[in-house]
Amino acid sequence: MPKLIAKGAEASLFLEDWYGYPVVRKHRIQKPYRIPQLDLKIRGERTIREARSLSSARRAGVATPIIFHVNPDTATIHMEFISGPRVKEQLPTLSEKDRRRLFKKIGKAVARLHKHQLTHGDLTTSNLLLPSQDIVYFIDFGLATMTQNTEDFGTDLHLLRQALRSTHYSHWETCYTAFEQGYKSSYGKDASAVFRKVRAIESRGRYISERIR
């Protein structure tokens, strides 16, 4: 009997048996709020995008669940079950030192993705799993893109920064600073160009006085 383990924003996730191996079936369910044309397209596209990017990320040296089966028509992916908490729940329980260590590691991993021209597209602490102290799994690649554009890398960082500021406001600065250190150590000297983009993105489009006519 499949067991519902999570109801995410896009998908329902079931724990199932795959020839004796525990797997997660991620099913992007139909959304009643959007019209069928749009709904089908989004679910199909995201499924393919996620399956591809989970593999690309893995090739880039970032831990992701192994894929067993993909079906864009039903918008389902069968993937390795990763047993462990999400960073979202784990973060508040960690010591300051462990938090720093963790986010340095996350920074290095994201830089590795970017060096392989891959963005994650939805970097929040809900999409990072911690099966053990030393390994962070990246999941939920439905919004990932292949790109060489610094702007896109900056957007990835901005999304993480925003998620930290809003969800983990007591710790966000420590986490983000450690993240930047990790990112820089792996991405190299061009990291500062990405950091500049983050600032540019965040000063854009936010004020009524800048509305276009």
């Binding site: 009643p32 929040t124 809003s166 993105i201 006085s209 509305r211 276009i212 006519r213």
Partner: protein, 328 residues
């Protein structure tokens, strides 16, 4: 005891009055409609200046209250267009000084949200704030509105307004687009759909919709496609924010909240995530004076009045920069 509030951040000059419990006693306004193109800050300010006394008259004839009952003067201090903001600020300072009552500098975004929470009777909601100048998904947590998602370029309402003008629809464009969309009979034209995490972008969508216009696609079809695409984007990020935060209530406010199709979509999103949904009454979705008055009341209760030395307008005042003493 009553509080008077003045709104003058953009198109609307609004003056409202609330009583001690926050009930609205008056809500009067005069809206500046540009003859051509978008809002011209100086023209808006001139309009507000001319209409101040008319609208104030309306308020007092509507409520029957007298100035002596006023125990605080609230005004929208920002964010907004500097020349327009200044009209409200000058009026507020003058009134507060002559009546000898505290001045209350209100953040326009917080005011929208607090008024919506009041009407929706929502304790700890996820707030979807969609207007001509702002597009934000936010939540009050530990005395601050935390921003989970927002637009990376232009606001949703701004996008709709600009498109409406390109299509030669008369002001205000939002309701016209909504009407036309209803006549489309389900013909959908694909438009760019841009969601980044919990953030959104609308300028690509606007450009593509304008292109359909010049290519001669039926206006009804474009309006329908524009709404379905942009609202689905909003719905998706709202769902993402609900899943990420686990909040059990979601409310919508800002001018675009007056759109019935948008409200319908958000209600369905809430259902998907087992959350309750409520919207600000359409009458109060847009800019109004009573929301400023109500926020002023909250500030008065929290004893956070604005000294004259700190009463300058703040055109770029961000929602997440403000301490919310009632949001413990």
């Amino acid at each position: 005891m009553i509080v008077l509030g003045i709104e003058s951040t953009a198109h609307t000059l609004g003056i409202g009055v609330v009583n001690e419990e926050g009930r609205i006693l008056a809500d009067c306004k005069s809206v500046y409609v540009p003859e051509v193109g978008g809002i011209h800050p100086r023209e808006a300010a001139e309009h507000h200046q001319k209409q101040l006394h008319v609208v104030l008259q309306d308020v007092f004839s509507e409520t029957g209250v007298s100035l002596t009952e006023v125990k605080g003067i609230a005004y929208a201090q920002g964010p907004g267009l500097p020349p327009a903001l200044r009209i409200g600020a000058v009026m507020a300072r003058t009134l507060a000084k002559s009546l000898g009552v505290p001045l209350l500098g209100v953040n326009h975004c917080v005011a929208h949200i607090e008024q919506a929470r009041y009407f929706c009777k929502a304790e700890k909601p996820l707030v979807v704030y969609l207007s001509g100048g702002n597009t934000q998904i936010t939540m009050l947590e530990a005395r601050r509105y935390r921003i989970f998602g927002e637009t990376l370029d232009i606001a949703l309402g701004n996008m709709l307004d600009v498109f409406a003008r390109a299509a030669n629809l008369t002001h205000p464009g939002g309701p016209k687009i909504e009407q036309l969309a209803k006549q489309a009979k389900g013909e959908y034209q694909e438009l760019p759909y841009t969601v980044k995490g919990m953030d959104l972008a609308f300028s690509g969508l606007l450009t593509a919709a304008k292109r359909l216009l010049t290519n001669g696609s039926p206006l009804e079809t474009i309006c329908y496609s524009l709404q379905e695409t942009s609202f689905a984007m909003v719905a998706e990020v709202v769902e993402r924010a609900l899943a990420h935060t686990g909040r059990e209530e979601v409310i919508v406010t800002g001018g675009v909240a007056a759109n019935a199709r948008l409200r319908e979509m958000l209600a369905l999103v809430a259902e998907e995530q087992s959350a309750k949904f409520a919207s600000v009454p359409p009458k109060y979705a847009g800019d109004n004076g009573s929301m400023i008055a109500y926020n002023g009341l909250l500030m008065l209760h929290a004893k956070t009045t604005t000294p004259l030395s700190k009463s300058k307008v703040r055109p770029k005042w961000r929602l997440d920069q403000i301490d919310i003493p009632w949001g413990e």
